[in-house]
């Protein structure tokens, strides 16, 4: 029935075909709409924080290790107070020198430095090594040990961080 009707009115076929074309075009526009907007440039804000000029620093000798993880107790130093580290003069050689091996407190450090001490005995017996375990936490100051090193040592090996 409809087929015969279509044949009976061929212009209707052209009308339908035209409507399909227009609809397709509109559909295409609809589909391409988001793509067109995707190519539009937009402005967004930077999510990153600004450099503050404030750094963390080592804790006081008796400070709790977790103090460094609490902003209320975390010791800090500002860029203005921070002085570039002046390196100490180096030794001419290690011959007959005293070298402190300081375990900073991380797991395995003491055993590692004991093996290093044994290496010196085997390979450089003329170097005197002294093994010390740093008091406090790996992040805290140890002024007594530093004073002892200043008095007795020619050089220091610190380890083992990680």
């Amino acid at each position: 029935m409809s087929t015969s009707g279509f044949h009976a009115r061929p212009y209707l076929g052209w009308l339908v075909a035209g409507a399909v074309l227009i609809a397709s075009f509109l559909g295409y526009r609809h589909l391409t709409g988001p793509a067109a907007s995707e190519s539009k440039r937009i402005t967004v804000l930077d999510p990153r924080g600004q450099p503050s000029g404030v750094f963390g620093r080592r804790g006081a000798p008796d400070s709790h290790m977790m103090a460094l993880y609490d902003p209320d107790t975390h010791p800090t130093v500002s860029r203005d107070e921070l002085v570039p580290l002046r390196m100490a003069p180096r030794l001419d050689s290690l011959d007959n020198k005293t070298i402190y091996l300081v375990d900073t407190g991380f797991a395995g450090g003491k055993e590692f430095l004991e093996e290093m001490q044994a290496w010196f005995k085997r390979n450089m017996p003329y170097v005197k090594t002294v093994l010390r375990i740093k008091s406090g936490t790996p992040y805290s100051d140890s002024p007594e040990l530093w004073a002892e090193i200043k008095k007795n040592a020619d050089g220091v090996v610190f380890g083992v961080g990680g």
């Binding site: 967004v44 804000l45 450099p51 750094f55 390196m87 003069p89 180096r90 797991a107 055993e111 990680g162």
Partner: protein, 427 residues
């Protein structure tokens, strides 16, 4: 040692941390002479350590002991004699305009997200977010770093709003997010042990913004809980400068870090005073409390002996936070522990741990009373911060319709008859 005491030094760090310590040292103006053995050095046989010492530094390819000897005796170079402290440039407020697709790619590939899709912080969206507070957008909220020594990043109210938009939050969530930011605590400090964090909201704001404190409170079933917790993670990445393997060294990482166990305390169901009241705030004040640790042990049932047993078995530095279903608290209440401070004291005394202190043992009441469940954690309570100071004078304008389905309360099976119709309405 080098500068103050004038003693030459040879620092040793495992090669896994080479990049970390070199960059950290240089940012402080220190050109230290590092040596890097292979790793790990902890819990390995002596023979392995001997091989490390007699072998090469895997970073430089030079014999480790030659490096150590050179570190102490080789003459200083020009750069070592005149170290500089680099000044990092200020970042722009606005990024270069680009297409949405390119900006999404840039945020993702630059590591400014948590890997999940974000909402781009356009000027319009950030301006709308800022309607959630009266504070000046350029007010400095704090500074943060996931490391212990690197330069901290400073952030303003506007920067917090930017990260809140990215997390998918709405202006009604901003006061809580600002309160978290004001603590300056990153959710993920760089610990090889992989921290987990928790943010617990108390006071009227929890209800105003529709937070969940009942069934599944720490799960993905509540809009406010999810986006507030996620914003904390994004702030930790973008303000704390968390970059995996560079500044962030958590060996395994922690799945809790995506939304940080963010929830409200179930004050209505708890027989105890709310947590923030026990920390000196009024019940009418709104706060957020920050907790952090490494261990979360689930599926304990709440009796005082049960808590004691878990304290004795959990490897902790003396701090414990119990996250307890109200039913567990009611059990403890019936045992005579109507005052949680009394329970903290009892547990510290009975624990046998030299580190346990009453003030280090805390309790949070969360859950929907499906069982007297207790989560035992080694979390430290770090801070309780005011939310009220960030709420606009006109109050929070919450969109009460923009909510996920609320957790159904089915006490005594009274809502059983409504199950079918409710289930159908959600399909």
């Amino acid at each position: 040692m080098e500068g103050e005491y004038g003693v030459p030094t040879a620092p040793i760090v495992t090669s896994r941390f080479a990049d970390y310590v070199i960059r950290d040292g240089q940012s402080h103006g220190m050109n230290l002479r590092w040596s890097f053995p292979p790793y790990p050095v902890a819990w390995v046989p002596r023979e392995t350590l001997r091989q490390y010492i007699e072998g090469d530094d895997p970073v430089t390819g030079v014999k480790l002991m030659s490096e150590v000897i050179d570190a102490l005796s080789k003459p200083l170079t020009q750069a070592e004699t005149n170290p500089q402290i680099p000044v990092r440039p200020k970042r722009p407020r606005l990024l270069e305009p680009d297409t949405e697709e390119n900006l999404h790619r840039m945020f993702l590939t630059n590591g400014w997200t948590d890997g999940l899709p974000i909402v781009l912080p356009t000027e319009e969206r950030v301006a709308e977010m800022l309607s959630g507070t009266d504070h000046d957008p350029q007010d400095v909220v704090g500074r943060m770093s996931v490391t212990t020594h690197e330069e901290m990043k400073e952030y303003t109210v506007e920067k917090v709003a930017v990260n809140a938009v990215m997390a998918g939050a709405r202006p009604e969530h901003l006061p809580v997010i600002l309160a978290i930011a004001s603590t300056q605590h990153p959710a993920m400090p760089s610990s090889t042990g992989s921290y987990g964090s928790m943010a617990v909201v108390n006071g009227p704001v929890a209800q105003t913004i529709g937070m969940n404190s009942g069934v599944g409170a720490m799960g993905p079933f509540n809009y406010a809980n999810s986006v507030i917790g996620r914003a904390w993670t994004l702030m930790s990445i973008n303000f704390g400068d968390a970059r995996a393997g560079e500044t962030f060294m958590a060996s395994i990482g922690n799945g809790l870090s995506f939304t940080n166990q963010c929830c409200a305390e179930n004050e209505a169901k708890s027989p105890w005073e709310p947590f923030h009241v026990r920390k000196g705030f009024k019940a009418s004040e709104s706060t957020v409390s920050i907790f952090r640790g490494w261990n979360v042990v689930t599926l304990g049932l709440g009796t005082s002996q049960g808590l004691l047993q878990r304290i004795r078995t959990l490897d902790s530095m003396g701090t414990y936070t119990f996250v307890m279903d109200p039913l567990a608290v009611k059990t403890l209440n019936a045992e005579g522990f109507s005052d949680p401070d009394k329970l903290s004291k009892w547990l510290a005394e009975k624990s046998g741990s030299p580190f346990a202190r009453p003030e280090g043992i805390n309790f949070i009441v969360v859950g929907g009373e499906t069982n007297p469940i207790v989560h035992t954690t080694d979390y430290v309570h770090y801070k309780t911060a005011s939310v009220d100071k960030w709420i606009p004078a006109g109050g929070i304008k919450a969109d009460a319709k923009l909510r996920m389905p609320a957790a159904r309360e089915c006490e005594d099976g009274l809502c059983f008859s409504g199950i079918a119709s409710t289930a159908a309405s959600r399909e």
